[in-house]
Symmetry: C2
Subunit: 323 residues, 2 copies
DNA sequence: ACTTGACATGTAACGCGTTACAACATTTAG
DNA sequence: CTAAATGTTGTAACGCGTTACATGTCAAGT
């Protein structure tokens, strides 16, 4: 392995000049540049990334914090990785599996300068703890957070949920159940507020039993159908779901139980992922890929101290066969 | 930001001793260790990851090369990230979007010592080119590769495909179509061989028109149904798919066209992902998560020069409602 | 001819741990 | 009581670019 020092010696120039060539500095004559470039090619030289990171004090790496990678965050992840890479940044995945201790690794890695910044997709640690890491680098969250230091790129959950609720109510469903996501997350709180406000507005019944939190996956969706529609006398006739995965689980389990959709049960998913399209599930469109782009640009702004342009994001409801 | 030098000066010991404390070397007395540890805590000291990487010559980071992250590789990615993290390695995602030039970034990053090793999920560059990067670090591939330097953890595609074929033939389907994946990949070649051998064995008709390559996604599956079952006189009555995504697309489009499944059309997916379970699609089980584990352990073996244990993986067919 | 400035290049310190080797002290074995 | 073994700590070089500042050169301006 050759290094910059050898290139300098062999070419007869100083390390500084070689470094300038490497960094396309204009302060090098063409002749010098050519000579040095030739020698670098001869020796098959490439600069050592770690040395660069050490001296520059940044790694061009951004950590993504998540509980685990699932279908819902796929477009977020893809879009983020893609956008970052276009700007010369790589993305490191930190999955916690729900373990706060494991999640902390990501934050510690920022403290240790292994990553320049963090995007949070899902997060299981205390706000206070997160706050204490803000001084080590910029953090942006997909989910809404109550910390001023941590910007969020999520859509307005309250409005989005209202949209879904309004939709089913307009179509005549009145017994509405909810499969919410992470308990006590801002997203969930906003949705709960939306639900309560809407029920009040139309004076519809609220059965606490019909609202669940902590429902994210296909399996949990299936399970929910068994519980809510098993044999109880008073059953909901519409379910709004934390995401399309849950909706998919509900739809497939409901069909297995000979329930007619949408006659007996209306189902509304969230995020309008590929899955919702495939299965024909009505879903609230959530511009996830654009949110990821915004997340990256927010981080870049903070890293470079310059304003980067943010997109303004729209949401809407996509109606399909389940309502 | 405090550094090791400051800790050394303040504690009155040398940098070497401080470093020993950091690395839990046994050659430090308890008293010294305590003193140094206290000072580190006082100053809120953490070692700089880049400095460590530079001097150790390794980053504890592994790059994952892929065209894009989709449902099929989700368990692979998740399992890999998880396993790697258990062993102190982080995973960096390199998505190429099919652009060889972008893909090269991952390989260049290994050359520049940004990652210690690479796992290839999908790869669009020449074998020859890949071969030339093997000298910079270990590479393991999910897909089978013809290079001796690059180990593979994929299941035996030939046998797996045989399993699917045998299944539909036993159930009386004779007009079999194929949605293969990447053209000219080893996987596809093996599957094509399996198909031809099997058709020969049972003396079944082979319509070249019924075999497609380059079909990976839900949309492409839907498209395929329109093409193969649109209006042609002689139609296939069974389709084997590159993966469960394609199968999902086929099933949903076929239903839209009022085709009865499995009476009019049998569909077999591959990988037996969550999606196959949800939609009730028969699928060849592919122990993807375990393959990812094996991939990591293979890399670790090569990095440490020690044998790591590999699991022997089983596959089987999971029958559901589409056959 | 002389100053000023633009341009090219070098010097040396810096970013921060790691580690082979040396040195010294203290046990322990004989 | 001494030699060998063990344990503790220090020295200094190394891994490799980056960059602020200094220096030297040559052409344009007056």
């Amino acid at each position: 392995m050759s290094n910059l020092d050898q290139i300098a010696k062999l070419s007869g120039f100083s390390k500084a000049t070689v470094s300038r060539v490497l960094n396309h500095s204009p302060h090098v004559s063409q002749a010098t540049r050519d000579k040095i470039t030739n020698i670098m090619e001869e020796l098959d030289y490439v600069p050592n990334g770690n040395a660069i990171s050490l001296s520059k004090g940044q790694t061009q790496q951004i950590g993504m914090v998540t509980e685990g990678i699932n279908e819902v965050m796929l477009p977020f992840l893809n879009s983020f990785v893609e956008t970052a890479s276009q700007h010369g940044y790589q993305t490191i995945i930190y999955t916690s599996g729900g373990d706060p201790q494991k999640e902390l690794q990501a934050f510690e890695d920022m403290r240790r300068k292994r990553v320049d910044a963090l995007v949070i997709s899902t997060c299981v640690n205390d706000l206070a703890l997160l706050g204490s890491y803000c001084k080590y680098g910029p953090i942006v969250s997909w989910q809404r957070m109550e910390l001023p230091e941590i910007a969020s790129v999520a859509m307005n959950q309250y409005d989005g949920y209202m949209l879904g609720l309004e939709h089913v109510i307009q179509r005549g469903y009145t017994r509405i159940a909810n499969a919410f996501g992470r308990p006590s997350s801002m997203n969930t709180l906003s949705r709960i507020n939306a639900y309560e406000d809407m029920m009040r507005k139309y004076e519809l019944p609220v059965y606490p039993h019909w609202s669940r939190t902590g429902v994210y996956s296909i399996r949990q969706g299936e399970q929910l159908v068994r519980e809510l529609l098993g044999g109880a006398e008073e059953r909901p006739n519409a379910i709004l779901c934390a995401n399309d995965l849950v909706a998919a689980g509900i739809v497939s389990e409901a069909r297995r139980q000979q329930l007619r959709i949408p006659e007996d049960l209306a189902v509304v998913g969230f995020d309008n992922t590929e899955l919702a399209h495939t299965l024909g599930i009505t879903s609230v469109y959530n511009p996830i890929a654009d949110q990821a782009k915004n997340a990256f640009h927010l981080l870049l702004s903070k890293l470079k101290g310059v304003e980067e342009e943010q997109q303004i994001l729209q949401y809407c409801l996509v109606q399909r066969a389940t309502t």
